[in-house]
Amino acid sequence: MQKYFVGFMKLSSYTIPPTLALFLLLSIWEIWVRAANVPIYIFPAPSIIFTRLFQDMGFFLSHGMTTLTEALLGFILGATIAMTGATFMAHSRLLERSLLPIAVMIKVTPIVAIAPIFVIWFGFGSFPKILIASLITFFPVLVNGMSGLRNVDPVVLDLLNSLNASRREIYFKLRLPSSMPYLFAAFKISIPLSVIGAVVGEWFSGDRGLGSVIIVSHANLDMPTLFSAIFVLAGIGVALTIIVFYLEKKVLRWHDSSVIT
C-alpha cells in the first residue's frame, strides 16, 4: 500500500506542476481575450477552442492519426539512415569529411523550399510528407550518433582489442551501448521535429493530416479549428516526447542520465 502511495506521490510531483502551469496560462488567455473583447477571428478564447475540439473530436483524431503516422514513419526512416551514416562515418574520417558537409547542407536547406518539389516528384500521398519528416529528423541523430559511437571508454576498447574482438563485436558490445545516451538526446530533439516535418509536408498538398487542416482553416479565417489542430499537434508532440523519456529510462537503467535528481 505504501509502495503505491509513494508511486502516486511521485507521479503527482511530475504531473501536477505542469498541469497547474497550463491551467494558469489558459486562464490568463481566457480572461484577457474576454476582457479585451478580442474577436474570434483574431484570437479565440480557449473555451471556444475546446468546444470546437470536443464537438468534432473524431475529425481531429482522424487527421491527427495521419500526421502521427507520417511523423513516426519519417522519424524511423530518418533515424535509420542517420544511424547507418553515423556508423560508417564513425569508422572513417575520410567518409566523415566527405559526407558531413552534405548532411549540413541538407540540414540548412529550408524545408519549405523543398516541400513543393517533393510534391512534384512524389505526388500527393503520404510519401513526400514522410520524406520531409525524415529529412528534418536526420541531422540530430547523425551528429549525436557519430559522437556516441566514437566516444567509448578507451580502457574497455583496449581490453576488447586485446581479446581480438572483431569490429562487429566491438560495435555491438561497446560502441552501440555507449552511443545510447547520445542517441536518446537526439531522439528527444528529433521526435517533435518529425511532427513539424509532417505538418509542413501537409501544408503543400493533400487533404489529410493536421497540416492540411491548419492551412485550410487559416485560409477560411476559421481560428477555432486552426487552434484546435494546434492543440492536438501539441498533444502529439508532448506524448511522443514523454514516450522517448520513458524508453530512455527503461533502456538506460545503467546510465547516469536515467537517474533523476
Binding site: 512534384i120 487533404d207 479565417l221
Partner: protein, 341 residues
C-alpha cells in the same frame, strides 16, 4: 472736425490692420489644415505585383494622386493572407479581397467588412489544362485528376453541373500553388488565377487551354477594395477611391508607364509576366457596367448572383444580409455618370 477725422483715420487704420492680420491668421489656419494629410495604411493582399487594385495604389502614389487628395498612404503587402485580420485589428485601413472571400468572411465568422469598389468584373479563378490533353469540353475531365488550391472552387462545381459532368469520375486533390504539378502530369486540370499561371506554364514551354467559368455562365466577381463597415462613410475612403480610380484610368491609358511603376515595387519580378497580369486584369475590369458607371463600379445584381451561386454550391457556411457586404455609395461620390467628379 480734423480731430474727429484724425481719430476716424486712426480707427480705419486699426481696422485695416486687424482685418489684414485676421485674414493672414485665417489663411494660415487653412494652410495648416491642408498641410496635415490624412494617414492611410493600405495593404495589398499578396506580394508586390501587377494585380490591378495594387497597381492603382502604386500609380496613385507615384503620380502624386494621393497627395492631391490630401492623403499620406503607406502601401504594405502580405503573403500570409492575414490582411483581413490586420484590417479588423486596426493596423490596416484599406485592403484588397476577392468578392467571394468578402462574402465568405461575412458569412462566417461574420467579419464586418464592406467592399466599396470592384475591379474584377469577372472572377480571377479559371482552370487550366495542357493542350496535349486534348480536352474539348469539361465532359472530357471525367477519369482525370483535378488539382485545387485550398478547397474545391464553387466555379468548378458549377461548370460540372452546367456541363453534366459526373463528378464521381474525377479525382480531386489539394495541390497548393505550384503549377508544375500540371506540366509534370500529377494533375490534368488545375485551378489557377487567370492572370498568372497561364503565362507561367506557357513560359515553361507548354501550350495550354484556359477554361474561364464566365464562358459557362457561372457568376463570378474579382478583386475589390474593402474596409471596415464602420469606416465606410469616412472621407478618407472617398478620397482614397478618387485617387485610385484616377490612377486606374491612367494605368489603362499608359500601360507601359504603369508597368515601370510596378517594377519599382516588384523589382525581382519578370516584366513580361507583369505585363500579362496587368493586361488580363484590365480586360476583366471592363464591362457594360463600368462603361456606364465608371471603372470599379458594381451593382447589387452582380453581388446577388454571386451570393446565390455560392449558397447553391455550399461555399457559404451561413446565409446573411448581403447588403452589408458591399456599398456603391462611395462610387457615387466619386463618379458622375462614368466620369470622375
Amino acid at each position: 472736425m480734423n480731430a474727429f477725422r484724425a481719430v476716424g483715420n486712426c480707427n480705419k487704420a486699426k481696422l485695416v490692420i486687424i482685418t489684414f492680420f485676421s485674414l493672414i491668421a485665417l489663411l494660415a489656419c487653412g494652410v495648416m489644415e491642408t498641410s496635415e494629410p490624412n494617414n492611410v495604411t493600405f495593404m495589398a493582399g499578396y506580394k508586390p505585383q501587377a494585380n490591378l487594385p495594387f497597381v492603382a495604389t502604386y500609380v496613385a502614389q507615384e503620380k502624386g494622386y494621393f497627395k492631391e487628395h490630401n492623403l499620406e498612404v503607406e502601401i504594405l503587402h502580405t503573403t500570409s493572407g492575414d490582411n483581413i485580420q490586420l484590417l479588423m485589428s486596426g493596423d490596416v485601413d484599406i485592403t484588397t479581397s476577392d468578392a467571394t472571400s468578402v462574402l465568405k468572411r461575412r458569412s462566417d465568422p461574420g467579419i464586418p467588412i464592406t467592399a466599396f469598389a470592384l475591379f474584377g468584373q469577372k472572377g480571377q479563378q479559371g482552370f487550366l489544362s495542357l493542350k496535349s490533353s486534348d480536352f474539348n469540353s469539361p465532359k472530357d475531365w471525367e477519369g482525370k485528376t483535378f488539382g485545387y488550391k485550398f478547397s474545391q472552387p464553387p466555379e468548378y462545381l458549377a461548370i460540372l453541373e452546367n456541363e453534366k459532368v459526373d463528378r464521381t469520375k474525377i479525382q480531386e486533390v489539394r495541390v497548393g500553388f505550384d503549377p508544375r504539378v500540371l506540366t509534370e502530369g500529377q494533375v490534368d486540370i488545375l485551378a489557377i488565377f487567370k492572370s498568372n499561371e497561364p503565362d507561367t506554364v506557357r513560359n515553361l514551354g507548354f501550350e495550354v487551354d484556359l477554361w474561364d467559368p464566365a464562358d459557362f455562365d457561372v457568376p463570378t466577381l474579382g478583386l475589390t477594395y474593402v474596409t471596415r463597415e464602420t469606416d465606410i462613410e469616412s472621407e478618407v475612403v472617398e478620397q482614397f477611391l478618387k485617387a485610385t480610380m484616377k490612377a486606374l484610368e491612367f494605368t489603362i491609358e499608359n500601360r507601359d508607364e504603369a508597368i515601370d511603376i510596378v517594377m519599382k515595387y516588384a523589382p525581382e519580378e519578370d516584366r513580361d509576366h507583369q505585363k500579362f497580369m496587368l493586361n488580363t486584369e484590365i480586360d476583366d475590369a471592363q464591362s457594360a457596367i463600368t462603361d456606364m458607371n465608371g471603372l470599379g463600379s458594381m451593382t447589387s445584381n452582380q453581388w446577388e448572383s454571386l451570393y446565390g451561386h455560392l449558397i447553391r454550391y455550399g461555399a457559404l457556411p451561413k446565409e446573411f444580409d448581403i447588403k452589408s457586404a458591399f456599398t456603391i455609395d462611395v462610387l457615387d461620390q466619386v463618379y458622375k455618370g462614368n466620369k470622375l467628379r
